[in-house]
């Protein structure tokens, strides 16, 4: 085992870890050693071929199909230099003030978060795409919303030189997405922060981390690690864990922190989601252009959000309910398909949590509460109205049985789309907004950290990612993670002589 000593160790390089890395760069410039360990590899844009079968295992944990313990939902989270910011669509919204107020975290102020968000909006080139870059899949959503009496909004996105490949979820082949892999991490490295990839942190001890650096498998995508393969013991004055809402609680649990922190792993939420498809008479532009340009925010009123989306053939096939001739016919209509992603705003409940198995690997327990099922059902009805408003001839809706709803049935959506058809294990539900598990709060009785990510009772340990959320944020979480991580880093800089 090789011993390494650093001043600050950051575990993870996604929206949280990447933000912390850059914010600590001034310390590196003053001679402190700042080390970031990332489990995934470092990719070049040329690695991203757009082939879902090839890219999913390279970019995602369990190829994007990490199953919850009862097998009824898959969780998608990235493993790469830049974490999940490499594989998301770049949607960048500030946290809703009502949600932050509702979290009631002592010391956490919505105005402060908003101010920090503004900085990352500028840094990440967040803007609205010009009209001519919006494809018909997205334009139909606007029209459908208007016909159905809703108001759509355009997503600000963090791209620079987007060519409209539509392949965001498989890594941008044009390097347009301004995730931490493109902005914060390179800036941090230029100022002296070290980033080591293919480095798995097994366990934390008192100001130490046991680390395994893995060799690059033969033929695998991505660069080899910056360190020689082997085991390392990293000693650090401060440790920041930003391994994501599954990875962070799991690492802290297998490191033995659960005994003093009864809330560790609890409060997991994820905006459970599924895809709806509307079939049009004529081909539309759907597999070219930014895929997720618009959304409908019904979070406050009805507990759901609808977003435009466009997925690849296998992911689409998997997410359509059923199989056989009807399913195949819909797949063969791919150029005529409009897609909407339904997301439910779930709430932290006692049974939904991250724990570890006997080997220390993460296990996510998640049950769909009746409220979530009702919200997904209501969201599906809304999406169906939007599809038909946009002119679709039929709609595929998971909580309908049979799932194909013809246009002449558009007046019977309340009957056709019903919560009783939401049969877990039959319907494909997935989630990519993973939150909670090391939530902020007052003390160890109600939380894992304070509002600056300081772990209760462990002065050298911080958390800086979506696991800090005490409940779901009810919108895409990327900018909220960055602004919270910025607060965590600020506290470290203050303490370490910034």
């Amino acid at each position: 085992m090789t011993d390494v000593s650093v001043d600050v160790l950051v575990v993870g390089s996604g929206a949280g870890g990447g933000t912390v890395a850059q914010a600590l760069a001034p310390l590196a410039e003053r001679g402190q050693r700042i080390l970031v360990l990332e489990r995934g590899p470092r990719f070049a844009a040329s690695d991203f071929t757009g082939d879902e079968v090839e890219m999913a295992p390279a970019l995602y944990a369990d190829a994007g199909g990490f199953l919850t313990s009862d097998g009824t939902m898959t969780l998608a989270f990235g493993r790469a230099y830049g974490g999940s910011t490499v594989v998301y669509t770049g949607t960048s919204l500030p946290p809703p003030e009502r949600v932050i107020r509702g979290w009631s975290v002592p010391g956490l102020d919505a105005a402060d978060l908003r101010e920090r968000t503004r900085r990352y909006v500028d840094e990440n080139n967040v803007h609205l795409l010009p009209d001519e870059a919006i494809n018909e899949n997205n334009r139909l959503f606007v029209r459908g919303c208007a016909e159905a009496g809703y108001t759509a909004h355009q997503f600000p996105v963090n791209v620079r030189g987007c060519r409209g490949s539509s392949l965001c979820n498989l890594g941008c082949p044009n390097g347009a997405k301004q995730g931490t892999h493109a902005v914060q991490l390179p800036a941090a490295e230029a100022r002296g922060v070290e980033v080591v990839t293919r480095a798995r942190v097994e366990r934390l001890g008192d100001r130490t981390a046991e680390v395994v650096v893995e060799a690059r498998p033969e033929g695998a995508k991505g660069a080899p690690s910056e360190w020689a393969p082997g085991t390392y013991r990293v000693r650090a004055g401060t440790v920041v864990v930003a391994a994501g809402a599954v990875g962070t609680p799991a690492l802290l649990l297998r490191s033995g922190f659960g005994a003093a922190l009864p809330r560790l792993g609890h409060g997991f939420t994820c905006h459970p989601a599924f895809i709806l498809v509307g079939e049009h008479r004529d081909p539309i532009t759907n597999d070219v252009g930014h895929p997720k340009s618009l959304y409908l925010d019904r979070a406050e009123a009805e507990g759901f959000v609808l977003e435009t989306c466009m997925y690849f053939p296998f992911v689409t096939a998997k997410n359509l309910t059923g199989m056989g001739p009807d399913h195949e016919r819909l797949m063969r209509a791919f150029p005529r398909l409009q897609m909407i992603l339904v997301l439910a705003c779930d709430k932290a409940v006692p049974d939904n949590r991250v724990r570890i198995d006997g080997a220390g690997d993460p296990v996510v327990d998640y049950r769909f509460t009746p409220a979530v099922v009702e919200r997904m059902t209501a969201a599906t009805r809304a999406a169906a109205r939007i599809f038909f408003g946009a002119g679709a001839v039929r709609v595929h809706a998971p909580p309908a049985d049979p799932p194909l709803i013809e246009r002449h049935e558009a007046g019977a959506l309340e009957r056709r789309i019903d919560a009783r058809h939401f049969q877990s294990g039959r319907i494909s539900v997935s989630a990519a907004h993973l939150m909670g598990g090391a939530g902020m709060g007052r003390d160890a009785g109600d939380s894992v950290t304070d509002s600056r990510g300081r772990v209760h009772g462990v002065p050298w340990l911080r958390v800086a990612d979506a696991s800090l959320f005490p409940d779901s944020v009810e919108i895409n979480p990327y900018l909220t993670i960055m602004s919270l991580a910025d607060r965590v880093a600020e506290g470290i800089v203050d303490e370490r002589g910034g």
């Binding site: 791209v159 998997k318 797949m331």
Partner: protein
């Protein structure tokens, strides 16, 4: 790299599920079947050992149910009976049966739609060049730095009041 999952013992069951889930697979030639099975074997081989065990067990369950319900091996049921059996299982009261059915049909879809040739056949054309690859213009000028502008696309597409 992980060791590919051995589909040999369950090949006829896998192919039966695939043809039921995607009828066009009945016309697959040897190359396409080989490609489908390689995709699935690689994907399952990379999953945790517990998932691989569950998959083997579910294939055995399918075999047993086929004998119980139709008195013949799963691989010889034909697409219609296979589809009937799978559709009944995906609605089964027992979660384990629904999950297992979801899992095997997902693998079937992966083997079929994971193939480049099939993707092209269904009309999927995404490419790195994006708009310019479809005869469109060069990358759009970024409009950052002007704040968040008025949602003109929304204004333009909303119906007149």
């Amino acid at each position: 790299m992980s060791t590919p999952f051995d589909l040999t013992p369950v090949r006829s069951t896998f192919r039966g599920v695939t043809v039921a889930a995607v009828p066009a697979a009945a016309d697959f030639d040897a190359d396409r079947w080989a490609r489908a099975e390689a995709i699935v074997a690689d994907a399952v081989g990379a999953r945790p050992a517990s998932v691989q065990r569950q998959l083997r067990a579910f294939f055995r369950v399918l075999g047993a149910l086929s004998w119980l319900r139709f008195g013949r091996p799963f691989g010889s049921l034909g697409p219609d009976r296979t589809l009937r059996l799978l559709r009944s299982l995906e609605r089964a009261p027992l979660l384990l049966l629904r999950r297992g059915t979801w899992g095997v049909r997902t693998l079937a879809f992966m083997g079929v739609y994971g193939q480049e040739g099939v993707r092209a056949e269904v009309g999927y054309r995404a490419m790195a060049d994006g708009w310019s690859g479809r005869g469109g213009g060069e990358p759009w000028p970024d409009r950052a730095g002007r704040g968040v502008p008025e949602d003109s696309i929304l204004t333009a597409l909303r119906p007149e009041p």
